[in-house]
């Protein structure tokens, strides 16, 4: 059967690849969701950073590492603005980041056209610094005869790091508290605002990492990169056990969510089913996950009187 290929090292490497870039984002988005917020601009921000890397490197003729550093600053600034607006106004992050999402979508297209007169940036591999950047962001390794991309390693590393931060640092405790009840958290002295802003900046930094990976890997970037992905990140985090209401979830769960996503995405063509069914399965998994999460919450909040 086809599933033989699916289970072979090469097959595994195949579905690990989409899971890895999605997983890096899902882990960051999970932290943000545990902290009680959404970031709808996370997907388009991947495009923004990839385009920034491309434009600064090829149009402004800078070293690729300079371009990557500029993209990081841009991402952190956007993350800061998201977090600052959310904590300042008290409006739902859903609305605030929907605003930044739409603005960035327009900016991505407008600025790309302004610089290149087309809707894409290319030739990133002709820029000085590419070899080193390729080694960090897009190298390939041979594992059991299969070609595995370095993004898989980064994904594992980030998952481990996020888990450690969540469970074993003061900041992690503050993330759970801010998402659980930000007023109560502030009352006992948790810097809830700073925690929220840091989480938005972390999500933006993850978007920068994935954006840079895409730019270096593909060497050309379309202006519409990343649009629509923001919901996939949230779906992966929710399948992995994050509550939509905040205060509960895990980085490992979000990574498993991304893994399930990658397996389904490639499993369906392997089974020679119509790929159109993919979104049906995704939606069904999301519903099941939300129902399961609700049970967890009920258990935890059922006060015995």
């Amino acid at each position: 059967m086809q599933s033989e290929t699916f289970r072979s090292p090469r097959g595994i490497a195949n579905w690990l690849d989409p899971a890895s870039t999605l997983g890096i984002m899902a882990v960051a988005v999970a932290l943000l969701m545990i902290g009680g917020h959404f970031d709808l601009s996370a997907g388009v921000l991947v495009g923004t950073t990839a385009l920034t890397v491309g434009i600064v490197a090829t149009e402004l003729r800078q070293n690729l590492w300079v371009a990557i550093a500029v993209a990081l600053l841009v991402a952190l600034a956007i993350g800061f603005v998201n977090g600052w607006l959310v904590t300042r106004t008290g409006l739902p992050s859903f609305i605030i980041t929907l605003g930044t999402f739409l603005m960035l979508q327009g900016l991505n297209l407008g600025l790309t056209k302004l610089f290149t007169s087309t809707v894409s940036v290319g030739g990133i591999d002709d820029v000085p610094g590419y070899a080193a950047a390729e080694w960090v962001f897009a190298s390939k390794m041979q594992v059991l005869g299969a070609e595995v991309r370095v993004a898989v390693l980064w994904w594992l590393l980030f998952t481990a790091l996020a888990t450690w931060v969540l469970l074993r640092t003061r900041f992690g405790n503050w993330v759970f508290a801010t998402g659980g009840d930000d007023v109560a958290a502030r009352n006992v002295g948790v810097p809830a605002r700073r925690t929220t802003i840091t989480l938005f900046m972390t999500t933006a930094a993850a978007a920068w990492f994935v954006g840079t990976t895409l730019a270096v890997r593909l060497t050309s970037v379309q202006a519409n990169t990343g649009i629509g992905q923001e919901l996939i990140y949230i779906v992966a985090a929710v399948i992995g056990g994050c509550l939509l209401t905040g205060g509960f979830g895990s980085a490992v769960g979000a990574s498993l969510g991304a893994l399930i996503f990658g397996m389904t995405q490639l499993g369906i063509p392997y089974l020679r089913w119509d790929a159109d069914w993919f979104y049906f399965f995704l939606g069904a998994m999301l519903l099941l996950a939300v129902l399961a999460n609700r049970l967890v919450r009920r258990y935890a909040e059922a006060a015995r009187r």
Partner: protein, 264 residues
């Protein structure tokens, strides 16, 4: 207690606070001494919450003075009040329900070990301390890893009180700790209030229930529509008088008269 120290821990002198043109609080004076319970009693809208907010650093007073150990203070943030040793336990907002008891216990004051990027939350010590401190207050929590949401209302309040005492609170402000509880649970909480008092903490107990306030209180501040009806030592007021004053005294008499069956 029998020998009150010369300087009260906390002294309120003619405190007042306005929200726009509304006078929320005016001319409030009271004292809080170490090892004593000062009860603040008042009906809904009497200004109890405003008073808590001033004491706990959420708002600044517009008039009057707040003295800590005899020195005037003014808190701009809850953190400042906490650092000065004034801890507040809010009615519903004391704990994060989805977090484990030990995580809640150390929230905002997590013990750490290691240095630089390896500085981490010392979970083992936090769990151990939580269990020991709760046991010292006579609180039996089966498992410090269980989420606070699975505790009863009384247990939650008790954990919050133990937490404040552990972190060296000299003044403990309790906002309606018994209002949402049944008779038995309320008794449990009042016992921990007495425990905290016996450990030398100055307790401010805010309540609208004179039956909860009287047995544990040493002095009573009565509020009505933002103004003080006076501060009484326990020796100067009986439970009946306290109840009568609380219930609105003359107002209630008039109401009773109005509601009487017409006799013909």
């Amino acid at each position: 207690m029998s020998t009150p120290p010369t300087t009260p821990l906390l002294e309120l002198r003619d405190l007042g606070k306005d929200y726009g043109s509304v006078i929320a609080l005016d001319g409030i004076s009271a004292t809080v001494r170490a090892g004593e319970v000062t009860c603040v009693l008042g009906d809904n809208g009497a200004g109890k919450s405003t008073l808590i907010k001033i004491l706990s650093g959420v708002h600044r007073a517009d008039r009057g003075e707040l003295l800590l150990d005899g020195f005037p203070v003014s808190f701009g943030a809850p953190r400042e009040a906490l650092d000065a040793g004034i801890a507040t336990v809010y009615q519903d907002l004391a704990m994060i329900p989805l977090m484990a008891v030990w995580r809640n216990f150390f929230l905002g004051a997590e013990p750490t070990r290691g240095r630089g990027p390896f500085r981490r939350f010392d979970a083992a010590r936090a769990k151990e301390t939580t269990r020991r401190e709760l046991a010292a207050m006579g609180i039996d929590i089966r498992d410090p890893d269980q989420p606070v949401g699975t505790l009863s209302g009384g247990e939650r309040q008790s954990v919050a009180i133990a937490r404040a005492v552990h972190f060296g609170a000299r003044v403990l402000i309790l906002d309606e700790p018994t209002s949402a509880l049944g008779v038995k649970q309320a008794g449990v909480v009042l016992r921990y209030v007495a425990q905290a008092r016996d450990r030398g903490v100055g307790v401010v107990l805010i309540t609208h229930n004179p039956h909860h306030a009287y047995p544990v209180g040493d002095r009573f501040l009565l509020l009505n529509r933002g103004r003080s009806l006076g501060e009484f030592a326990k020796a100067d007021i009986s439970r009946e008088e306290l109840t009568r004053l609380m219930a609105g005294g003359a107002e209630l008499d008039a109401l009773a008269h109005e509601l009487e069956r017409p006799t013909d």
